[in-house]
Amino acid sequence: MVRRDPLLPNAGIVARREYRDRTRSPLFVASTIVLMGLALVVAISPIAIRYLDRQTVTRIAVVADDAQLASVAVGVADSLLNIPPTGSDPAKWERPFDIARASERSAAQADLAAGRVSGVMDVARLPSGQLDVTYRTNGPPNPVRSQLVGFAALALGILDWTSSLPKDSQLRPFQTPVFTPVSIAAPGDGDQPVDPQELASRSFLGIVFVVLIFITVVIYGMWVATGVAAEKSSRVMELMISAASPRQLLTGKVVGIGLAGLTQYVAIALPALGVLAVQDRIAEAVLGPTWAAGAPLVGLTPNLLGAYGLFFLLGFTLFALIYAAMGSFVSRPDDLQTLSLPLSLVAMAGYLSAIVALSGGGGRWTTLASFVPPFSPFVMLARVMTGSVAPWELALSVALLLVAIAVVAVVAVRLYAAGVLLYGQRPGVRAFIAAARRAG
């Protein structure tokens, strides 16, 4: 007959000791401070990017043979390069390109050589009447900017041609076509399509979060494994195993270390959330009262932080249970590196799949992996970050993770119960199976 001890209070007592032991270690405090700083940087990065973006005005000088041609060229280039973002007030919007006529060709060349202007658009009329547009840059040309200047040259040519038509011509004057980009598979947040700038911002955040969840799951998981291995190698396990059941010990250790991780997460997230709460005020102070005219300041949101917290907890619990079982099978903490490698590789596979998902790749594998534990904590988080997840998909992924945790917990407790009493044996698959049978 097997004694069935209730989880509490012993699991709680073990958890409290583990929690205190971890949170008081210098390594924990140092890593929390570093990660807190990183989270603050991430939270404030949209404002910083906007600030730097606003500071960067590209100056282009226009040189032409006559004043009228120069004026038209400036107007055309300005209309093509300075397009205000949707919803912004053109009157308040600050233009990224400063396009102005230079009176002398030589002066413009000197400005370009000295770096005072980024480019010189030189418009000349050939004897045939054809326009000759040269775009000069100092160093390798920016391909996108060169393309835009190319379109400006084309538009300038069309306008020049229509202006030369007879006044009684039956042809209608040239009109710029209306151009609107529409995507049929744009990532969305519910019914709302996600702005491309927001999407780029989320992808960046996604990489930060996926790297963070991978590192924390593996590091905290190894904490659990080394904790078990250290208890075993110091032989204190012999005392513990008579005072509490394997289920209580394992649960206490996973919960205690998990709570230490959660504490670190809250310590990291709270300042970041604080920044988010006053993001508007910071933006107004840094960017001035016209900051709202630009693209929305998207970065960290409470929902994304919540998703990270959820998948961290579930992912950690799943991996920590397996790490604990592994820790129980080694006689020395040094042996853990070898034994835990396959599990670290599984976590690595989930991490790489998530990175692929963030870049929009992976196809069916990404979708499948976002539901299959142990990959789902990484991949589903990545999908949430890019805003392409339906609520039912999220619910299913979480439910499958919970089921996996329940199954793994039962097996891990059995392995742990057998493993903690195994001394002097090389850890291996056979030892795992034999011990699990014996404990059963």
Binding site: M1, V2, I13, S234, V236, E238, L239, S242
Partner: protein, 313 residues
């Protein structure tokens, strides 16, 4: 109340660690569980504590299966000593007692009492890693008794202790016995068992080969101990070669000979006289526990009868 170990068998793979082992330990006694390394002592204790499960058989305390009783019924001092190296002594004593359901305040007071009793009150706030092995062993002993268990399982409790600490621990055993605790301790140090135990059981290769009260066992034994003093030499080689002598060791000015069941004390005396030795002392006493052990197991208790699986258990 009795601790009944009722015909338990335990196998590790193909190795039989315990073979139908049966034993009764009366309450309020210090009971010696004697055996060589690997004889099955630790496995038996682990089964009593519920750490391992027997393949067959059952362990009962006061008629109830041990698995039905709360963990705080038992105290355990494992053979493998270990504490949390970086935790202070007092903190870990309170921690272990809390796991057994002891309120922290009461555990703290009891811990301070026992640390003072073991002459290490100043070590309460030190980390365990700063303590000597002997002091760590005393701390572990305190951890095993702090919650006031009814039954104590002590696995080789005296190993590695200096004479002063050995005496302190023996005094604690007697005090706990006088409080009504039942103590089952394993050892292959026969002197400690002889000094403390009213009853013993001798285990060999997973089976009980002898058991009962020490006095009865000595009376029933056909072994004898002979103390022979010879002028000029303490332990001549020929003594240990005499028929029936199973062990010979030097004493203070005499040789102590353990005679097996076939040994005859008068034959020892006759042999000494025939060699012209000048005899200063001749004494026939009851056999020592060591002699009883050899009689039943066939070799001294220090010799290993290693069961490979014992370490693996």
């Amino acid at each position: 109340m009795t601790l009944e170990i009722d015909h338990i068998t335990k196998r590790f793979g193909t190795t039989v660690a315990l073979d139908d082992l049966a034993l009764n330990v009366p309450s309020g006694q210090i009971f010696g569980f004697l055996g060589a390394n690997g004889a099955g002592k630790t496995t038996t204790m682990r089964i009593c504590l519920g750490i391992l499960r027997a393949d067959s058989g059952e362990v009962r305390w006061d008629g109830s299966p041990t698995s039905d009783l709360p963990r705080r019924t038992w105290g355990y001092l494992p053979e493998e000593r270990g504490l949390y190296p970086r935790m202070t002594v007092l903190d870990q004593l309170v921690y272990f007692a809390s796991l057994y359901g002891e309120p922290p305040d009461r555990a703290r007071r009891a811990a301070e009492h026992w640390l003072a009793r073991f002459r290490i009150p100043d070590y309460a706030d030190r980390r365990a890693e700063e303590l000597s092995k002997g002091n760590q062993q005393k701390v572990q002993f305190v951890a095993a008794i702090l919650h006031g268990p009814e039954v104590l399982f002590m696995d080789e409790p005296f190993t590695g202790l200096d004479p002063v600490n050995l005496a302190l621990l023996r005094e604690a055993f007697v005090e706990l016995r006088d409080q009504g605790r039942t103590i089952l301790f394993s050892t292959h140090q026969m002197e400690s068992a002889e000094a403390l135990c009213e009853s013993v059981a001798i285990v060999d290769r997973g089976r009980i080969v002898a058991g009962g009260s020490v006095a009865d066992m000595k009376r029933a034994s056909r072994s004898r101990t002979v103390r022979l003093g010879l002028e000029g030499e303490t332990l001549p080689t020929w003594l240990s070669l005499l028929p029936g002598v199973v062990a010979a060791r030097p004493g203070a000015g005499f040789a102590e000979l353990e005679l097996g069941p076939g040994g005859d004390p008068s034959a020892v005396l006759a042999a000494a006289l025939s060699r012209g030795a000048n005899i200063t002392r001749f004494e026939v006493t009851e056999p020592s526990l060591e002699a009883l052990f050899i009689e039943h197991v066939g070799r001294p208790a220090g010799d290993d009868a290693t069961l490979a699986a014992e370490d693996a258990a």
